[in-house]
Symmetry: C2
Subunit: 201 residues, 2 copies
């Protein structure tokens, strides 16, 4: 993972190493958004990524394994902990990231995997995995920092606050199918934070 490798175009017709992984995951994510999990095809991904499908199978023996890495890579943002100086500001930043992600084609595809039915065990495992990725360390770090600062003095379990905000974003983007402008984010964060503040520790 040297800067040189990153800057130069891959000198070989077949990308290798990090460039190979990055290229395949990028194409897999775009395909996931375009055709969904069921119709995702490794040969098609190989062609679009300009690699041999055997190279893909060598690293990811199954479609589920490839999608697992694709989802993990696409959701790395869930580990980011914004630091605006206040819990309110941090939660607004987090809900903004979540809403933007849900509104992107790739994000929407991943949320649909997360919500998928439990009847297919492969889909269920993927959904669970996507959910674990979505519950990254970012939001918890934000809450922890607020608690240390004395900015969250509530008897309420912080997970109720975070999950309620995530649910409000889900409803807004997927049920109402509406945009989530700044004024909306502020309103919903205030609603939940003031509700939490009412239950003083």
């Amino acid at each position: 993972m040297t800067t040189t490798t990153r800057r130069k175009k891959a000198p070989l017709p077949q990308p290798r190493g990090e460039a190979f992984v990055r290229g395949v995951l990028e194409v897999a994510l775009a395909q996931l958004a375009e055709v969904g999990y069921e119709r995702l095809s490794i040969p098609a991904i190989a062609e679009l990524a300009n690699v041999n499908k055997t190279s893909i199978y060598r690293r990811w023996p199954s479609k589920a394994e490839l999608v697992r890495d694709t989802v993990a890579s696409a959701m790395s943002h869930s580990n980011d902990a914004p630091d605006t100086g206040s819990l309110r500001g941090d939660l607004i930043a987090l809900t903004r990231t979540v809403a933007t992600f849900m509104q992107s084609p790739a994000g929407a595809a991943i949320v649909r995997i997360m919500l998928a039915e439990g009847s297919n065990p492969e889909m269920r495992a993927l959904g669970d995995m996507a959910y674990r990725e979505a519950s990254g360390v970012g939001p918890w770090a934000v809450v922890k920092r607020a608690q240390t600062r004395g900015d969250f003095q509530s008897k309420i379990d912080p997970s109720l606050v975070l999950f309620t905000l995530a649910g409000a974003m889900l409803h807004r983007v997927f049920v109402e199918k509406r945009d989530a402008p700044e004024a909306f984010l502020e309103q919903v964060v205030d609603l939940v934070l003031e509700g939490a503040a009412a239950k003083k520790k």
Copy 2:
């Protein structure tokens, strides 16, 4: 729609009138839950409901039209307005109904239609319709009554309260895939209601 017709078993091999409609919608809902919208088949529904498929097509010329009535009939609960004497009690009752619905196979199938992608115009129209049905008059009647009683004195738009609660249920049932026991319903209703109360009119 006489009581007699309801109590007696249909005297004819093919149910007619109200019994026909009720029977087909019941089977269509069960099939929707079992196989999903894409694989829903009118001939299969006809066989299971013991009616001719031509009779189904006469009333519902397309699958989309049949599913529209199926969804509307399955979501009639969204017009119920519980009346427990307090807004808190009413909202707990409403969230209980919503969570129970989401956890039923038919409810889950309908929510998935509601969340479906917008790329297929037929699915998009069905999703919009399911959303309209879900936004029945019940919750609004509950809020209206609370406002008249002076039980909701908030500058917050009541739709933010209702949608945040619906979102919290969505997250709980479809993302966390957890049950929604009474203690959880009370916590989330209190969180949102106290948040709303903090913004006094």
